[in-house]
């Protein structure tokens, strides 16, 4: 099977510091992959490079055999904090922006997700709590028919009950051949939906394993992840 995403020898420096060092990663279509690592490991930076937001890196990033940023952006959906809009912007205006800018935006899908998340189109960004804003971001992200979804800590402000509901439903919102790359600190909560785990440590990919292989060793994902850090500490 052709890889959906191929990253080869990716090195990224900023402020004279190496943030990511010779990262190699391949993702297949149709997988849900966790991107794990401690704070400051480079998870967000990696996603930003894939999405074409971070520049001046060495190595290559290819999505569906495309290296050009514009083509990559057309095929991926990244959880954006919506900071490009003023606080007085209504949700319906943000939706209109997405409808105009993204040709793969599905209005019906958004309506379903919007009612699922209990969001009112007339609400302004300033009136949304942190959790409601993140629900809106998830709804907008999954309303695009993308090949790759990049979810950067999408659940951090969402309450536990809603988080559980969303996590259980994510698999229904993506097309079969679409891949999700999700970074999150609630490892146990997302474990049930994962196909693979990628761990970033010491500026590079420490390990890339299938969850099946991990579970074969009678380990939960969290135990496996914690075990990696304990081994390193020893």
């Amino acid at each position: 099977m052709d890889n959906l995403l191929e990253i080869k020898d990716l090195t990224y420096k900023k402020n004279q510091k190496i943030i990511l060092d010779k990262i190699n990663l391949e993702l297949q279509p149709g997988k849900i992959v966790a991107l794990l690592g401690e704070n400051g490991a480079g998870k967000t930076t990696l996603m930003r490079i894939i999405a074409g937001m971070a520049k001046n890196y060495q190595g290559s990033v290819t999505l569906l055999n495309e290296t050009k940023e514009a083509m990559r952006k057309a095929h991926l959906s990244f959880t954006d904090g919506l900071t490009g809009f003023g606080d007085s912007t209504k949700i319906q205006d943000i939706v209109h922006f997405y409808q105009v800018i993204y040709t793969d935006f599905d209005d019906e899908q958004f309506d379903q997700l919007r009612s699922f998340m209990k969001l009112d189109l007339n609400m302004r960004l300033s009136h949304l709590s942190k959790g409601m804003r993140e629900k809106l971001i998830i709804a907008l992200t999954f309303s695009r028919k993308a090949d790759l979804y990049l979810l950067d800590e999408p659940f951090s402000g969402i309450d536990a009950m809603a988080r559980k509901k969303i996590i259980n439903s994510i698999i229904l919102w993506k097309a079969d051949q679409a891949t999700i790359l999700i970074s999150d600190h609630f490892v146990n909560e997302i474990a049930t939906m994962l196909d693979e785990v990628v761990v970033i440590k010491d500026k590079t990919v420490l390990t890339h394993q299938s969850t099946e292989a991990i579970r074969t060793n009678n380990l939960s994902i969290e135990e496996y992840y914690e075990g990696l850090y304990l081994k390193e500490d020893e």
Binding site: M53, K55, K73, G84, V100, I101
Partner: protein, 273 residues
């Protein structure tokens, strides 16, 4: 091309968000200033005074509002360039930047047209109210008609000079947008390269150095323009005007190419927390 058009329309919409409010403030502000500085009565000569004052006050406000709105648009321009929300648009950086600059230019033109329309409405109102104005306009048109028939070539010259002046102003306006972007892009690119230092002090110093370099360039351009007295009447040598336009075109192209290169390779979008 359709993504370019969609992006352009959204950027234009973003920049014209406060435009109508500004126009309304200008409109009401002009009337209020004129009203409170004039005595209101049904006496037609006082009405004449009111209308003359209104036209002059509104024309004065138009000059200040041009600069104010231009600065506002510059800020919005750079905010969009820096914004992750906008930069996630599936379009390459060169077209993104061109769309942003073009939408700024079109917004300014749209703003000025609406102001001119308001001025025309005030003038039209004055024409309708005052018989004296109607008489004066008729006389002026008659004299202009006589002058036109006997001095056709001079009229063409005036038209040419006006066109050259407008072209130079447009190119200067575009160049200013480009220079502001250049300043923003280079300073951020340099800051990303330097070791991390917290605080705004370092970024201010870097920006001051870049401002100094750009100021040197601008002084060179302004010397060229001043040499030809372009702003004092329209007594300009045709060849020198064309040279100025050519220089401005080259500068615009130069900064456009440099800015596109910087945006593609060094200027990262950020997500403000």
């Amino acid at each position: 091309m359709s993504i370019f058009k969609s992006l352009f329309s959204q950027q234009f919409k973003q920049k014209t968000k406060n435009l109508y409010l500004i126009l309304l403030i200008e409109f009401i502000g002009s009337i209020a200033i004129t009203f409170f500085s004039s005595r209101y009565s049904y006496n037609s000569s006082v009405l004449d005074t009111f209308m003359i004052k209104l036209l002059s006050i509104y024309s004065t406000i138009m000059i200040f509002s041009t600069f104010a709105f231009y600065i506002i648009i510059c800020f919005i321009n750079e905010k969009i360039n820096l914004s992750q929300t906008w930069r996630l648009t599936p379009i390459n950086d060169s077209l993104f930047y061109i769309s942003n600059i073009l939408s700024s230019f079109v917004t300014m033109v749209y703003f000025k047209l609406l102001e001119l329309l308001t001025l025309a409405i005030f003038s039209g109102l004055y024409y309708v109210i005052s018989p004296q104005v109607r008489t004066n306009v008729a006389i002026t048109l008659n004299e202009l008609n006589k002058y036109t028939n006997s001095h056709l070539s001079k009229l063409y010259n005036i038209f040419d000079e006006t066109l050259i002046f407008i072209t130079i102003m447009v190119l200067l306006a575009l160049l200013t947008y480009l220079i502001i972007s250049f300043l923003n892009f280079t300073s951020r690119a340099i800051m990303n390269f330097l070791p991390h230092v917290s605080g705004r002090g370092v970024s201010s110093i870097i920006r001051l150095v870049i401002i100094w370099l750009i100021a040197w360039l601008l002084v060179k351009i302004s010397n060229l323009i001043r040499m030809n007295n372009i702003f004092s009447g329209f007594m300009v040598n045709d060849k020198s005007s064309l040279l100025i336009i050519l220089v401005l075109l080259i500068l615009n192209l130069f900064f456009l190419i440099v800015n596109v290169f910087l945006m593609q390779h060094y200027f990262e979008a950020i997500e403000k927390k």
